[in-house]
Amino acid sequence: MVALSVEPTRIMQLASRDRLAIISRREFLHATVTIGGGLALAVRLPAQETAALATATPSSPRTPAAFVQIANDDTITIITPAVEMGQGGHTSMPMMIMEELGGDWQRLQVTDAAAAAIYNNPMFGQQSTVGSFSVRGWFMDLRRIGAAAREMLVQAAAGEWRVPATECTVAQSRIVHARSGRTRTFGSVAAIAAQLPVPQQPVLKNVADFKLIGSSPPRVDVPIKVDGSARYGIDMVLPGMLYAAVKTCPTFGGTLKSHDDSAARRLSGYHSTVILPDGVIAVARSYWRAKKALDQITVDYDLGPLATLDSARVSQLLHEGFSEPGTVARNDGDVPAAMGHAAKVLEAEYEVPYLAHACMEPMNCTARIDDSGCEVWCGTQTPQAAQAAAAAVLGIPPQQVKVNTMLLGGGFGRRGEADFVTQAVSAAKATGHPVKLIWSREEDIQHDFYRPAAAIRFRAGLDSAGNPTALDCNVVTSSMPEFHLPGPVFYTGGVVDTNYSIPNLRVTGVNKDIGIRFGFWRSVNDSHNPFMLESFIDELAHQSGKDPYRFRRALLQHAAAARQLAVLDLLAEKAGWDRPQPGHYLGISAFQAFGSYIGTVVDISAKGNAVTLHRVVTAIDCGVAIHPDNIRAQLEGGMVFGLAAVLRGEITIDKGAVKQSNFHDYPMLSMTEMPRVDCFVLASDAAPGGVGEPGTAPIAPALANAIFAATGTRLRSLPLSRQNFTFSTARS
């Protein structure tokens, strides 16, 4: 039995004691015979505990409550609680079951779970593929399910052979009794196994014995993504389906006053206009006709209370937050006293703008309503949110909504929301037909749940030797009130959990309700707070006349920071910190994020304000590395996501509305700008950390620190394009 201690993470610290206790008790394995006569295995939550999970909705009666099904023909079907949005959920979730099961990877089929409480992530009690939680949350439970299934299959074969189960081994979906030379396939004993009692304490492998975990088997979703057969939400087609296009009030909080669709009604293929509280949906017999009809509908909006809001005012509101009392998230030592004794006090203010997710697949949903309830098809990170949204439109219980999760053409946090489900179900309800609703890119950019604008004011006290003795951080942004649970203030994450050893450290959070919709954006708080803190730490190093890498090293000389220190040291080694090429300048950043330790070194040169990027080196300690190739892909992809934001990512507000509308004014990174990237995954047998998001965070501070090293200009706000810098990538 492997003993893995799950380290506390930000979210777990936020959860109440009761909730953690509930989650830790959820270990009831349960077997059923499948319709085909195979074995199905699940973890079952006792009913009262299901009800106790505040965010859970009851499981749908149409849902087979199972995670793994082994059919008589040896097909292994794994129902994955994590959706596939490019992060590798459809591969990593099965790997954890298959490792313990001993199944043949070639016989694997993967399907998405329906909306059901049984699929709630054990770590935070919601069925959400968010927060880089999937592997972290499911690492033990999915392995237990695989191990229990293996023990039952072995028991079944051993019983048939009348030999002790301990003499049998398992590999590649076969049970082998070496002494007698007999083998059985999983499928041939699955029906017998399903009749056996389910082991409640199956024996798990030691980390050192993992064969599948730590290798990089082919991603299950790759073949279908090279021949056009992958099915995303936007690809859904139903008989008799109508198509819908939508536009809503450009200002936040605005509402529809009136509309005139007389011109649209004259178009061929037009079906109807559906009125929303904040806009209109045009429904037609093809998507193009729906879009043309939408363009013909004139609308008059009540622009609402934010009609004069602009980005300058947003910035002003954030800065006003610096002088508000706020919530104290951490208070070590005595910051005011230490500042009083400091030889030198430094102060700096940092700020970042709103950002859009811009998933490549625009938001969409297909909905069908019938006598028994409603069925929706969409890419969603949170099936139960989609279920609840549909149920709310129709006034029916959530159990009467079946959610079919499709592949996601990008999620990044955007598809944790369900506003597009509400719209599609509204259209299906109004028309009495199945409807596929597709957003335009313009609607997507202008009606996102944005990465909130954020600002921090830092004050630091240095002693006469240049060592930081005090650090005061005022974090101001917009965040969700429900996260105001016991523990650190959620949105101060990335600052409040710093591993730097500074004896007097205070972190204060001010949550500003500005009125702009905000949400989770890949790496969440770590998309802004570490940029600011790691830049300010760099400022302190330069003020002290110390090397930024060694300045950080000195602050990480304690046991709890050992893993971060190892990442920092590896980065310095791999990037050649002490031997940059002539004319090149390096910038470094490292911190903990999503239960992992991550860092990046950026190698640049500069002529005036023309910056050339030569190389990015990223290292991560994410505990047990499930799929190293995909970990590197996530680090590289996360870096691209972060780099696009650093260079020119900016959603600006004018007259209460978003100014940007498509990729011409909200540009992404291009192939031309893609740098050489080297990613390193540290070997570790610690419990898994997050992987999907950490890679986005360290590029901003590392690049900003490199730019300071090269030019002497300190970037205290993003993006780079605002600061008169130009950017290119070197080709070797």
């Binding site: 596939e84 949005m85 490019g86 992060q87 590798g88 082919p218 991603r219 979703d221 790759v222 073949p223 279908i224 993504k225 090279v226 021949d227 056009g228 057969s229 992958a230 099915r231 995303y232 936007i234 087609v237 198509y243 061929s268 093809s286 193009w288 006709r289 043309k292 811009a358 998933c359 490549m360 697949e361 625009p362 592949l407 996601l408 053409g409 990008g410 999620g411 990044f412 597709i438 335009s440 890119r441 190739d629 995909n630 892909a633 992809g637 996360g638 870096m639 691209v640 996501f641 498509n662 990729f663 011409h664 992404m668 990174l669 291009s670 192939m671 031309t672 893609m674 990237v677 080709r731």
Partner: protein, 152 residues
Amino acid sequence: MFNLTVNGKPLGVDVDADTPLLWVLRDEAGLTGTKFGCGIGLCGACTVLIDRKPTRSCTLPLSGAAGKSIVTIEGLSSDRSHPVQQAWIAESVPQCGYCQSGMILAAVALLERTPAPTDTEIDNAMSNICRCGTYGQVRKAIHRVAKLATKS
């Protein structure tokens, strides 16, 4: 009524002449591998080959595609055997995969013109946007095709 050739087969469609080829392919021909991304010809998710040239289908009206020969991702091979598809699998390029049909077709066109492209030639030819950041793997896969072609 407009007549085109899609993946080697004749296709007759009776829709508005201004309907972008993208929506004809997706909603009339049922070829959903071609994706809608931006609607203004910038992101390249809708890339198809028209008379072997990579073309953004979201801004090309049906009237402009009539009589032409169009290849979509579904028409590249019947069994993922096209060298570019094979390289994409070998390098495990896709993440979310939404942009990859367009990426693959852009790469097919590039490699046909330039069988062993340099990094700069790849940069110049591959204007498709990938939000997951697979550019590095795309580059590797293109080089892989070139390398295998030289060997054979």
